[in-house]
Amino acid sequence: MRSKLLAVVALFAVLLSASAHGADPERIARGEYLARAGNCAGCHTAPGGEAFAGGRAVASPFGTFYAPNITADRATGIGEWSAEQFWNALHLGKRADGSPLYPACPYPNFTRVQRADVDAIYAYLRSLPPVRRSNPPHELSWFVSARPLMRVWQWLFFEPGEFREDPAKSGQWNRGAYLVQGLGHCSACHVERNAFGAEGDSRTGRGGRVHGWYAPSLYSRAEAGLQGWPLARAAALLRHGKAGDASVMGPMADVVFNSLQHLSEDDVLAMATYLAALPERPVEPAGREPRLSQAQRDTALELGRKVYRDHCQDCHGDEGQGSKAAPRLAGNRAVAMADRGNLVQIVRHGGYPPSTAGNPRPFGMPPFYQLSERELDAVITYIRRREG
């Protein structure tokens, strides 16, 4: 009798702990989807490493952060964390011991995420096999190396708060706003950060910088804004990485490949709805292009024309009209944008847009390592010649 009773108690204990750990398969599947939407693995998986076991270096002006292990390993991961502690991390920017998280983790975005969704992500992470992998210490500049300083940062720049629906707007707009502001953490790259690494008080309207690329502003049609785009086209760009003439390259290609292509059509359409409705703001150029005398400009254009004829024209057309294999350059906003950094990246290093269901076999841009700095600069001046 006693042993039976014990067995029943044990069974209950197992069931109880299983439910506390969110072993519900539906919730885990939801958590997996949401972890995709947040692209958690983008930082928390090292190149060639095990999923979510951490170790990827995240470069910043303040030093290099190493995204920690978020598998359920007790010693090196978050195996000892309760659901409450996980919520505190995403919602309040607090570590399990209560100390502040560095905002290299975009909790200023994740604070918008609702509790049920955070719990689902927690359940999903707990459902994965724990991986023992110690977290390398961050390599930070001395002036931010004292973690308690982040309390001051949070006091100045961080306001926790779940997303609240705007009843005046459509359900689709609200769903999009929730995803873009929260898990999608689009602003983490697409909004310029101030001297303290915080977004939000940008007076220039500029986008941000990531991995040597410029993440263009989502508030300007001249940059990456989707205002005025047909919704289906905007959604296709986000989900397939290509829509008509437009495609994504560089870090955004990774975002589409690892995150956006896995989201439901409805969710991506909702994100497009919200992004297309963002208010428009002019972008103040970061610095003036080097001022050239007429003679210098003529020399650059002449060299640029020659480089263009030799290397670009076959695919992009003699007038920059583009072809099936290569985008149009004339009137292309990626070409015309005030910041020419991305053009330098694309011409020098080439690259492919992501291969996705909607664009499984993307054409790519060859790298041009052999061009001198002068030739590279000249060909960019040449393809931008109509942009003033």
Binding site: G48, H349, R361, P362, Y369
Partner: protein, 240 residues
Amino acid sequence: MTRLISVAGAFTRRAAILTLVGMATASAAPPTDSIEQRVQPCLACHGETKIDLEGGYVPHLAGKPAGYLFNQLLNYRDARRRHRAMEYMVSHLADDYLWEMARYFAERDVPYPQPAGEPMSEAQRARGQRLVRDGDPARDVPACQACHGERLTGVQPNTPGLLGLPRVYLMAQLGSWRVGTRRAAAPDCMHTVAERLSPQDIQAVSAWLAAQPVPAERKPAADPVVDPPLECGSVALPRP
């Protein structure tokens, strides 16, 4: 060893630039909606018209087993094999597309120039040849021929040929296997082999292989190796 790798690295940069300058004048434009057009970014470095075996670092791709090329593309994408430009190029390409690219290069049949014959001491030649043909049983080093084929032109489906490759490239690969910047599916037999080789072995075997003429029949052997000396995880990796 580190010096060997850094020397190879320095070669890489110089040679990559040389090769690129060579290919800059591309041949006739391919049809637009074709796989040839889609691999233009690859050809920027892996050009076929001016394969430069002397100073070049970038390896040729034509005629290698498709399974081998596919595995390398996955290794780059998933960072088991480290090379900045390659990782960047393939980091968001899907398996099916990478397989199509691998098949394209595997089916190419382009003539190879004969090696120029870089200077090599008699001792190096003897050591290199012995390692390739007999291995070194005392240290449990199998012969290259035991797995890469009698003619050293590779074995279907996943084992690459070793001829027609630049010496610096071969040296850099063996060095990378030792330090773990090139990895393959477990058990990673080439890591095991490279660990048993001394830097002098690596220099000798690379110099010897790079000096061999590329045979007229370059196709990888069709039949799998019977009773291979080491177990290799990548030999039987599936295709998409």
